[in-house]
């Protein structure tokens, strides 16, 4: 998964956690190696860097107690908690009157859930820093086709396993379909404006469109399905991004009208898959 998108999702999650739990003054996440993954809007990067540095100074000398799982600091005006969650460290700062049971419930349930979800969306999360194309979910290989009682059902491998309905799945597998399942990519919405901009067309990286065309060499890709994370979707035309500054960044340029229809705005995430014709 693209590190930027991964961080974006976590950053949004941290901000939302603060909305539902105002006792949390600051929240951010980092790796053991010191890389900052995401931080809320309230916490300056410089502050996070200092915390990570201080944290490192402990971890470097913590052989006697094993790898650090948590640090809890109580001060006269508040509390700092750093907890290891799924190989990442979540730091929260709360005021002195915070209901710590509630704070822990919120952070230790929501964040691991989000991390697991991100890992399921793509099992190659931001655990390494290798540059990757801005795609998040891709299924270049043809999906297996499983026969159900009444019809042949294409199993969407991009969906989490728990959404499968095992009782409907027969053990027999007949690869009858030769058309690969359309790949699903995630993009960050960016505005596009101007007098000559068509209101029914989104723009994405040409590289992605080329990858799609490679998958379906005899097909045309004119339209895409754009879906939000709350289930709103729309089919619209697609063209390559013209502005080079947006290339390779996992951006989808989207006219205001489509954003309005989907109920989203700049900076939010959407899923996009090609309509195979």
């Amino acid at each position: 998964m693209d590190t930027e998108v991964y961080s974006f999702a976590l950053k949004n999650a941290l901000n939302e956690i603060q909305n539902i739990c105002p006792d949390i003054k600051n929240a951010f996440m980092f790796r053991e190696d010191g890389e900052v993954i995401a931080g809320d809007v309230n916490t300056p990067e410089e502050t996070i860097a200092h915390v990570v540095e201080a944290f490192d100074s402990i971890t470097e000398k913590a052989d006697a107690i094993g790898d650090i799982e948590s640090i809890t600091l109580d001060s006269t005006k508040g509390r700092v908690n750093i907890t290891c969650l799924n190989d990442l460290y979540l730091a929260t700062v709360t005021n002195e009157k915070a209901d710590m049971v509630y704070v822990k419930t919120v952070t230790r349930v929501l964040i691991p859930t989000i991390l697991n979800l991100l890992d399921k969306i793509n099992p190659v999360p931001a655990k390494n820093d290798l540059p990757k194309p801005p795609t998040i979910e891709q299924e270049p290989e043809p999906s297996p086709v499983r026969k159900t009682k009444d019809k042949v059902k294409l199993i969407e491998e991009t969906e989490p396993e728990e959404f499968d309905e095992p009782e409907q799945i027969q053990p027999e597998v007949e690869p009858r379909s030769l058309i690969p399942e359309p790949p699903v990519n995630q993009f960050i919405v960016e505005n596009i404006g101007g007098l000559l901009v068509p209101s029914d067309t989104v723009r994405i990286d040409n590289e992605i469109i080329t990858q799609w065309l490679d998958l379906y060499p005899e097909k045309k890709i004119v339209d895409v399905d754009v879906e939000t994370f709350v289930g709103e979707s729309v089919t619209c035309k697609v063209k390559p991004i013209k502005d080079s500054k947006y290339e390779g960044k996992g951006i989808i340029q989207m006219p205001d009208k489509i954003q309005l229809n989907l109920g989203i705005k700049k900076g939010e995430l959407v899923r996009v898959k090609p309509v195979i014709q």
Binding site: K25, N26, T47, H50, V51, A54, F55, S57, I58, E60, K61, A62, D63, A64, I65, G66, D67, I68, E69, S70, I71, T72, L73, D74, S75, T76, K77, G78, R79, V80, V93
Partner: protein
């Protein structure tokens, strides 16, 4: 009779906040630390101030390791408090995979208690704060 009266007076004085610092002598603190050693899972402690240090660990080979990590914990705790404007540090608990450390300042003394992961930190903290 006279002696008994004196003890009562001392006790009443100890409940006054102003007198807590005075009563928090190194000896009282050391006595409390000795008592915490009998608690389940406590591995040992380090107490130090500007003039002396007392170390009592079940495994003497790890004295240096524990001393270093406890010092780092106290420094980091003060740094965190300053960064987030949280006032004075009261205590910091660093939990590792095999053991944990409770570090705090009591008066001029800096204290770190080392314990197994499942030991009751709150009980020890209560004991140390009771001075």
């Amino acid at each position: 009779m006279t002696k008994k009266r004196k003890i009562t007076e001392e006790f009443s004085v100890m409940t006054e906040p102003v007198a807590v610092e005075e009563a928090t002598s190194a000896n009282d603190l050391k006595s409390n630390l000795e008592q915490t050693k009998s608690y389940d899972g406590v591995i040992g402690y380090i107490m130090r101030n500007s003039t002396s240090a007392t170390i009592d660990l079940k495994d003497p080979t790890k004295i240096v390791d524990y001393a270093i990590v406890s010092s780092s914990a106290l420094d980091a705790g003060n740094e965190f408090s300053k960064l987030f404007d949280l006032g004075d540090m009261e205590d910091i608990i660093v939990e590792g995979k095999t053991a944990k450390i409770l570090s705090l300042s009591i008066g001029e003394n800096k204290v770190s208690v080392f314990m197994d992961k499942n030991a009751d930190c709150a009980q020890i903290l209560k004991k140390l704060r009771s001075l």
